[in-house]
């Protein structure tokens, strides 16, 4: 039964991801007083792309073809590590948060390789920028997770969530606020959202993620789009699991799971509104300012780790 729920929550993360994207797009349209597309459009896009022909540049090798598959595989594996409705996950094991960070890095590495292999100038530019951003985002990502792990005295995400569930919501500690701040900044950078990368553009010379996906078409593009949607959803779910898991089902019953699911939807909705507001209200940072943005995240996360020693709970 427990395993069935674990499979269910991985499926929620994977299948619900395009919906999250659609809703964010709709919210942004609403804030900008546009009509906006239907929230189901990402599914239609995926279905359309999957039916189309896959065009490969004549100079590309097998790396170009296998990159989207590795990316989606790694991202789905990440989704299996994140608790959604109960404080356990399909692949939960000790030290799994390290694996989570580097699975994301693996997917990104292959996408960058694919972009270089495609041979277009934009692909190479996007890939080298992505390499810079991910190098800088890795330290705050890991340090933020480590700070929470030290505080919870658990080395796995499920353990951290279980520990947080036992705490009082109002008893927030400095570590939590600092770690949340840095991880939220990292999520923005990792998923290519607004202050770091503009997810809606194909026109600017500043694109990062879109630049890498530029040479892909048909089913390969569908896999990349889907993977980035799953990544966004999994990262939001990770933030919720680490910093606001209250309401997760503690017993295996239909009622408890239902309540947990509803609460999860509400929390994701809140984060989506926040994302839409940030994306509509902020301008994209110049590329040279991105290291500063992530440097701030690094300092905050380093401070979070230091605070684990100062805060006595």
């Amino acid at each position: 039964m427990k395993i069935a729920i674990n499979v269910l929550q991985a499926l929620i993360l994977i299948m619900g991801a395009p919906l999250v994207r659609g809703i964010i797009g709709r919210l942004k349209a609403w804030i900008q007083r546009r009509q906006g597309a239907s929230i189901w459009r990402p599914y239609a896009d995926l279905a359309k792309l999957l039916r189309k022909e896959d065009l490969v540049p004549p100079s590309a090798s097998w790396v170009f073809r296998c990159a989207p598959i590795v990316l989606l595989g790694a991202t789905i594996a990440v989704a299996a590590f994140v608790p959604v409705v109960q404080s356990s996950a399909l692949l939960a094991s000790r030290g799994d948060f390290f694996l989570l960070v580097y699975l994301l890095a693996l997917g990104r590495f292959f996408l960058s390789l694919g972009a270089f292999d495609g041979g277009s100038a934009f692909g190479g530019m996007g890939a080298s920028r992505e390499a810079l951003v991910s190098t800088l985002a890795e330290a705050p990502f890991l340090l933020g997770l480590v700070a929470v792990a030290i505080l919870a005295a658990h080395a796995d995400i499920a353990g951290m969530v279980t520990w947080t569930l036992q705490q009082n919501f109002f008893n927030i500690s400095a570590v939590h606020i600092l770690a949340f701040t840095s991880l939220a900044m990292v999520v923005l950078a990792e998923t290519g959202r607004m202050p770091v990368d503009n997810p809606t553009t194909h026109l600017e010379l500043t694109m990062i993620h879109e630049g890498m996906a530029l040479e892909y078409s048909g089913p390969s593009l569908a896999l990349i789009e889907w993977a980035s949607a799953v990544k966004l959803h999994a990262m939001l779910a990770l933030l919720i699991a680490l910093f606001g898991p209250w309401g997760m089902a503690s017993s295996v019953s239909v009622g408890a799971i239902g309540v947990a699911l509803l609460l999860y939807c509400a929390k994701v909705a809140l984060l989506m509104v926040l994302l839409a507001v940030i994306e509509s209200g902020m301008a994209k940072l110049r590329m040279y300012l991105v290291p500063d943005f992530l440097g701030v995240a690094s300092a905050v996360s380093a401070l979070a780790v230091i605070f684990t020693m100062l805060v006595k709970r």
């Binding site: 927030i172 500690s173 400095a174 606020i177 600092l178 701040t181 300092a299 100062l310």
Partner: protein, 220 residues
């Protein structure tokens, strides 16, 4: 009534964390207006702390002081700053001489330093260590802002942050100073602001800019 007590306890136990956050954000802020808004938020947190202390120690005077903080530091001083920025017609960046990354690491180091500094003191006297560390961190950051920002306006703001720190230190160690002293301090701050405002106008009129790093020569 129970709710108010819980809220008071929470304000007293976790407000210092938010003060640290405002410190970190303030040293990375690139625009004067952002810094001023953050100063306003910071003062609001301190006002909440004053009210909470007043409620717990049953001091009627503390409410007056809290209201004064609210009126002067949260509303009046930021508004005066915005008017000043408007009237001076100066570019809105703070002209930092350290990059945001350097600044935030320095601020983090200052916060750690302040914890280390108050550690032994906080154990001998029974005062909340977090709050005392926050006040020392505010004093240090205020000084850091003053030396690392080249805009004359930011040096005023640094001084105000420093003053916030001193105010908080007084509050946490004495649980509320006599009202007369507090009013005197506020009067001082307002007078200082007035004088510094006039000086920035004079600097602008004489040198056509507000960059203090270029104030090397005397001009008649």
């Amino acid at each position: 009534m129970g709710l108010v007590e819980i809220a008071t306890g929470k304000v007293l136990s976790s407000f210092s964390v938010f003060l640290f956050l405002t410190i970190l954000l303030m040293v990375v802020a690139r625009r004067i207006s952002t810094s001023v808004l953050l100063f306003s938020v910071q003062s609001a947190i301190i006002a909440a702390e004053v009210f909470a202390t007043g409620f717990r120690e049953r001091l009627a005077e503390a409410y007056v002081v809290g209201a004064l903080v609210l009126v002067i530091k949260v509303v009046f001083i930021p508004r005066a700053f915005f008017r000043l920025v408007d009237r001076l017609k100066t570019p809105r960046d703070v002209k930092a001489s350290t990059t945001p990354t350097q600044s935030v690491f320095i601020a983090a180091a200052l916060i750690y330093l302040s914890y280390a500094a108050v550690h032994s003191y906080g154990q001998s006297v029974h005062v909340p260590e977090d709050a005392l560390a926050a006040s020392v961190a505010l004093i240090l950051t205020g000084a850091f802002l003053m030396v690392s920002r080249n805009k004359a306006l930011m040096q005023m703001l640094g001084l105000l942050v420093l003053e916030n720190g001193i105010f908080l230190a007084a509050l946490t160690t004495t649980f509320g100073m006599p009202l007369v002293i507090e009013i005197g301090v506020f009067f001082d701050v307002l007078m200082g602001l007035l004088l510094m405002g006039i000086f920035t106008f004079r600097i602008r009129d004489t040198f056509d800019h507000l960059d203090v790093s270029k104030l090397r020569r005397l001009r008649g």
